[in-house]
Amino acid sequence: MFRYALRRLSSLIISLAVASLVIFLVVEVAPGDPASYMLGINAQPDTVAALRAELGLDVPRYQRYFDWVSGLMRLDFGTSYTYRTPVAEMISDRMRVSLPLAVYALTLSTLIAFPAGIYAASRRGKAGDTAVIGLSQLGVAVPNFWFAMMMVLVFAINLRWFSAGGFPGWEKGFWGGMKALTLPAISLALPQAAILARVMRSSLLDMLDEDFMRTARAKGLSRRHALWKHGVRNALIPVLTILGLQFSFLLAGGIIIEQVFFLPGLGRLVFQSISQRDLIVVESVVMLLVFAVICVNFLVDLAYAAVDPRLRTRT
């Protein structure tokens, strides 16, 4: 297990290196010079040159790349072109909205999907199963931002239980913040829960047909015991993959949901920064999101190996 983890860790580092290079290059080819953009079209060439020097844009590309990467490692993301504040500060401000939102949504999604999937599989073909399938079919088909709009219409505009958008900030109290994130988290979680419940159900059903399940029943385990001890544990392998994938869906979906609810998260930061040509912010936020997803995938792979020892060895 240790050697496996070490091997995966080395490929994690390579992935991060390649990712940083790709992001840097993509942002580099983006048209428009940040300095001339900031100063407007009437700026004198020497003023632009001075600003370029101040922003560190006058050094060669490869040096800018290394400066950027070594800065990232020290959690120094540079200074925003537009706001002249440290990017790290801006990001950590926005993370306080985006990260709780993703975690909130992932928790809701798992809490709904696992029991629903297991319940449906254990009642294959019966009314309960059909109901779960029907609901998950519907859940998969609903665009989360449309669902969000409908929830705003019902719970914010008509019933006035929640605000239609915005975020009061955690300083105003934990529950106020959670309340503001509740509609967005539900909008994000429900479609994901539908997918997860489907995968859980079909994966568990595949397991029920396996020989080892019959063996477990034959040696005297009750249906419920066999399902939990052998079925669910084995069914978790594909479910873990989907769960890992969902993290990136939640981060990406969060960007759109943040637009619907006017939440000051990372997504809105990216949109603002692109329209203001604040490329250093774009670069850092994208790198951060990529870093998060690569790490989650790494953890999923480790969890795989922990659940299924067969995957640790080469065949």
């Binding site: 390649v18 942002v27 983006a30 449309w146 690569i294 065949t315």
Partner: protein
């Protein structure tokens, strides 16, 4: 039989929108490029079957023309994902633990690691917002989905006795992958294909909702929803109708996929009879 009902219902729902999209090439109830401010925000049934939007454009027309965009983008994106992803996944599984497996899967992780929407935003920031860039952005991210699924499905088969038998019989990895692995994971791929197709439709709607998909005057369901957002309390039908169009199309595709899976997999057919 159950599969039949799913298949028929799904095919009818999907067919409705495909036919609507096709008809829109030759005929639409009105012209979606002509604005009629005097006739704006009409309720459904009030002269126009599904009402009019804030520019007085007929919503049925917008839905029909918008269906073209959604279906085309999603279809091409899934095609890209399958054509590239499945062979990659089969190769990785056949070379499990080897350097090729490692390279393919790390490459996949890398694409996966880029939140698709963020990259779509980057692509549009660099190359401009358009339907083609939306296809590229959605398509690229379908590749690792199919590669991973194919690999994990294939891996679970490679240890089975019938594969051992094929190896003993002298078949090479490529032949085993094509003749024994692929047919056995085909139903997995079909189910995932329908999920990706529906996700493609949803992703296209999402991208055009934030203004990164097809550009005006090309109607798209996502932008209809974006336009409806500020009007949702006075004209809810503006948000309801495009939303229902998306839901019904995606639902239809998924039902059709389920029906096809049951049809293609004899084991499942026995089970449901």
């Amino acid at each position: 039989m159950r599969w039949n009902r799913n298949l028929v219902l799904g095919a009818v729902l999907t067919g409705l929108f495909v036919v609507g999209a096709l008809i829109s090439f030759v005929w639409t109830p009105s012209d979606h490029t002509v604005l009629d401010i005097a006739g704006k925000l009409k309720r459904p049934g009030d002269g126009n079957l599904l009402g009019t939007d804030h520019f007085g454009r007929d919503i049925l027309t917008m839905i029909m023309v918008g269906a073209r965009t959604s279906i085309a983008v999603a279809l091409v994106a899934v095609g890209i994902g399958m054509l590239a992803g499945v062979p990659l996944g089969l190769t990785a599984a056949a070379r499990h633990g080897g350097w090729l497996d490692e390279v393919i899967m790390r490459g996949n992780d890398l694409i996966f690691a880029f939140p698709s929407l963020v990259i779509a935003i980057l692509i549009t920031a660099v190359f401009g917002a358009s339907a083609v860039n939306a296809i590229i952005a959605i398509g690229i991210f379908n590749i690792p989905v199919f590669a991973r699924l194919t690999r994990s499905g294939a891996l679970s088969l490679w240890g089975r006795e019938f594969i051992m038998a094929a190896r003993v019989a002298g078949k090479g990895a490529a032949r085993i992958s094509a003749e024994h692995i692929l047919p056995n994971i085909a139903n997995l791929l079909i189910v995932q294909g329908t999920i990706q197709f529906s996700l493609g439709i949803l992703a296209e709607a999402g991208l055009s909702y934030v203004g990164l998909g097809a550009q005006p005057p090309t109607p798209s369901w996502g932008r209809m929803l974006a336009d409806a957002q500020t009007l949702v309390s006075i004209a809810p039908h503006l948000a309801l109708i495009p939303g229902l169009a998306i839901i019904l199309t995606v639902l239809g595709l998924n039902l059709m996929g389920d029906g096809l899976r049951d049809l293609l997999d004899p084991r499942l057919r026995e089970r449901s009879v």
